[in-house]
Amino acid sequence: MSARDAKTIGMEAAAWVERQDRDWTAADQAELEAWLAQSTAHLIAYHRMRDSWQRSEKLVALRPQPAQPRPRATHSGGSPAIKIAAAVLMLAVGGAGVFLLERPTDRVYATALGEHQTLRLSDGSRIELNTNTEVRIAQGGRAVTLERGEAFFQIVHDETRPFVVTVGDHRVVDLGTKFDVRKEHDRLEVALIEGKARVEATTANAARPTLLSPGDVMVATARTVSLKKRTSESLSDQLGWRRDVIVFDHTALAQAAAELNRYNARKIVIADPVAAKVKIGGTFPVNGTQQLVDVARDLFNLNVKDRGDEVIISR
């Protein structure tokens, strides 16, 4: 028989995958790699567990549509959310996917905190989803709604079937393009890397559409629209997430923390206005919460209080 039984190894591998879904540091990564190197059985078990965990991501499609406000839990046991979810599951199992029947045309893809996924469409277009992002792809694959988060689009242009990305009150129409779209509350940011695109408001008294050319970054809020030109270098930094890194360049610590917090459950809180303005630079992995904390403590001599889910930084 094997040196160690398959169930023990399997449970250990599952625990690694579970741990990766929480906060994840370079030290954790090193520990995991050491464990994987111990035997081929470890390596296979880990990838097998990770595969099923990643597949379970598609369960998000079973979320009641349209997204309902989350019922508040009034007591600990038997929460309504679970009952709703369980009901949806039962329908899906019993009735060949009621959700799919109700919305036969749309497909929803979502990433969890810290995740990063690439979707390939049948026409060759690609959509790369950043952390905590949800897109809805309509039948035919040429109309996408960015429900939340950030996505990079690499679109195969088709004169007869324009590719349209809807974000809140705006629409981005591709004219042969690579572009990045980020939605944060009411703020929309569109960065054009290559080609041409048109951004138009979908509201009744819409302003003129904005035509973007490479290097343009458009930021729209409920009331304002601004357009600025960026160098290719700074655009590539902005798209660092596609390589799973975040690039800071004279970035205020508060902003750097907010950026890292987008990817991680363990949040950095800057509890001091002076510390918030400290400027930092460098390339961090998207899960580099601890690295940023180390920089704040070791390089800037700031005070660090670790509360598990939260790290408080002050002077």
Binding site: A41, M49, D51, S52, I82, S232
Partner: protein
């Protein structure tokens, strides 16, 4: 081009998790070609090995052998390779063990039959994925089902789940671990597999 060159995610399939960038070719092949055979492979092992409590370990050994071979060279055809490996493993087990009675392996000559069993059709697999997932979730023990539903469908954090269910966060984590382990069996097994009926 403003875009920086990067190790890109070219490959077949519809959605490729970008995390797979660092995954070796042999493992990609394994996940893509071998893992979907698990249901048929488990059925084969069950039919040809008497002690059913060994199946999980046998499966692991087949996987290790297949993967080690794929690291040297990726086999042209996954299915015959996997089943030949399984067959040789079973034969060796019988030979190596003086105490295993002859009937441990039911019929070694009949083992070739398994190679002709229909494997999963990829398009069908993709189409049925959501159904398969929800069925798998349905079969999880209730405490596992609750946490994975809240994590994956409701997208709650561990602390939110802990609060919602009145559990410690460490308990949520251990239930999730259990759920991941059970899912790996449920998702790859066929419904007749006893591992599926908890």
């Amino acid at each position: 081009m403003a875009e920086t060159p990067k190790a890109n995610l070219e490959g077949a399939g519809t959605a490729i998790p970008a995390m797979d960038v660092g995954v070796p070719d042999a493992m990609r092949w394994f996940l893509r070609e071998v893992l979907p055979l698990e249901a048929v492979l488990v059925r084969y092992l069950r039919q040809n090995w008497r002690d059913q409590s060994d199946i999980e370990d046998l499966l692991q050994d087949v996987y290790v052998r297949v993967y080690e071979a794929a690291k040297r060279q990726i086999p042209d055809k996954a299915k015959p390779f996997v089943f030949t490996t399984a067959r040789n493993l079973l034969i060796n087990r019988v030979r190596d063990s003086a105490v295993v009675p002859i009937e441990a392996v039911a019929d070694l000559d009949a083992l070739n039959v398994a190679m002709d069993m229909p494997g999963p059709d990829r398009t069908a697999v993709a189409r049925d994925e959501l159904r398969r997932l929800s069925e798998a979730i349905d079969r999880l023990p209730p405490h596992c089902r609750d946490v994975i539903v809240l994590r994956r469908i409701e997208n709650l954090s561990r602390s939110e789940i802990a609060q919602r269910l009145g559990l410690a966060e460490t308990t949520v984590s251990s239930y999730l671990t259990e759920a991941i382990y059970a899912l790996s069996h449920l998702l790859n097994a066929d419904p007749a597999d006893p591992r599926v009926r908890k």
